[in-house]
């Protein structure tokens, strides 16, 4: 830690450091060094102002609880993580909900994707894979379905309108 940064830390002791300086200090790669310097200066202040720290029955000067606090907080975080891990296998009654939700999301994604891009004809690969082998009647049905789907989306949500807009504006092969 260079002198400039230590001077900032000293100003921070006196409540005279700006937010940017505090941020710079806290992002210093060697936090141990920062904390050690801070600790020493706080100790000096404690010695200069013996009142608060020794106002009780036990002289609290030089007390150090930081390791214990860290340990307690890390331990609690670890406990929470392991508790979460042990809860990981969800009860059977919830599993189908996740599966159903995933299926709904998938179908929505496919539907939205179809509305947004498949009909545009911009991507011949997609068109080849998805629409290969449709006869004229099937094409017409598919177009009606896509148009209705896009219209429906455009009423309910802003995102859907994009699909509809693209669908009606594209003079693709299907129209």
């Amino acid at each position: 830690m260079d002198d400039r940064l230590r001077e900032t830390l000293s100003a921070m002791m006196d409540d005279e450091a700006d937010e940017l300086s505090v941020r710079r200090l806290l992002s210093h790669p060697d936090q141990h060094q920062v904390q050690e310097q801070w600790r020493r200066w706080q100790q000096i202040r404690d010695v200069m102002h013996p009142g608060p720290a020794s106002s009780g029955r036990v002289d609290a000067h030089g007390l150090d609880v930081i390791a214990g606090v860290r340990e307690a907080l890390d331990g609690a975080a670890l406990d929470r993580a392991s508790a979460a891990a042990s809860d990981a296998p969800a009860p059977a009654r919830h599993r189908w909900r996740w599966s159903a939700a995933a299926l709904v999301m998938l179908s929505l994604g496919v539907g939205f994707g179809a509305g947004a891009g498949w009909e545009s004809g911009d991507d011949p690969v997609v068109q080849d894979v998805a629409l290969k082998g449709l006869d004229q009647e099937q094409w017409a049905q598919m177009n009606r379905y896509l148009l209705e789907h896009a219209q429906h989306n455009s009423v309910g949500a802003g995102r859907g309108s994009m699909g509809y807009a693209r669908l009606v504006s594209v003079a693709g092969h299907a129209y």
Binding site: Q31, W38, I44, P50, S54, S55, V65
Partner: protein, 230 residues
């Protein structure tokens, strides 16, 4: 945490409770003269902690651990209990920091948590806060507190050595450094006020105080390396 263990996260109403006891000094009475009660640095650090910066919380612990222990030791005799409850106070503060609204100074908020942690601890053990509500008696008690502390002889010696070394260090400072440093530490003046008094730029004040602090630190040397777990 050897004895008290971790209590579950406490509701803020509890941490900011209005309980007052025989040993309840106000937070302002335990504030150093050189410190503002509404420390901007504390608020900056609290914001960082809320954003998940644990090193910011470490700085708050280092800053306030002695004072919190001092508060708790007004309620609890045993030094190990004081250590545990001090630790518990900070753990509770960390967990509740999202609910710290900044209406009061961080130290005031922490002070309340410390007091309630100590009182809850005594309540849970069916013990009343020890001591008398009488202020004069309390002061007399504090006068003799060091003598009653079982660890006092050794600790008192360390303290005396530290204070002697500190006096020497301050006396050995060049005049301009000493003036700035003492105006800050003992009179609690802002850099701006000190600059006005010493008739120099604020940057010079900042630099002088830093150099003074650094010189005192170097003079105290190994005496400060000795950190205790009580």
């Amino acid at each position: 945490m050897t004895q008290t263990g971790l209590a579950p996260a406490i509701p803020l109403a509890d941490t900011e409770g209005t309980r007052t006891g025989p040993w309840s000094m106000t937070p302002e009475q335990t504030q150093y003269p050189g410190e503002q009660s509404d420390s901007q640095t504390d608020l900056q650090l609290v914001r960082k902690v809320r954003n998940g910066d644990r090193s910011a919380f470490d700085l708050l612990v280092l800053k306030y651990q002695s004072r919190v222990a001092g508060i708790i030791s007004r309620y609890v005799y045993d030094s190990q209990e004081v250590l545990d409850l001090t630790q518990e106070t900070f753990v509770k503060a960390y967990r509740a920091i999202g609910r710290f609204r900044g209406d009061s100074a961080f130290y005031t908020w922490l002070y309340r948590i410390a007091v309630n942690t100590a009182k809850n601890y005594l309540d849970a053990r069916g013990r009343r806060p020890q001591g008398s509500a009488d202020v004069a008696e309390a002061e007399a008690f504090e006068e003799g507190a060091r003598l009653r502390d079982p660890a006092s002889p050794e600790r008192l010696l360390q303290r005396e050595q530290l204070q002697q070394a500190l006096s020497q260090a301050i006396a050995g400072l060049p005049e301009e450094l000493r003036s700035a440093f003492l105006l800050r530490e003992y009179d609690g003046l802002s850099y701006e006020d000190i600059a006005r008094i010493l008739d120099c730029p604020i940057g010079t004040v900042r630099s002088r105080i830093f150099r003074a602090r650094d010189a005192v630190d170097r003079h105290l040397g190994p005496l400060l390396n000795h950190t205790e777990s009580m």
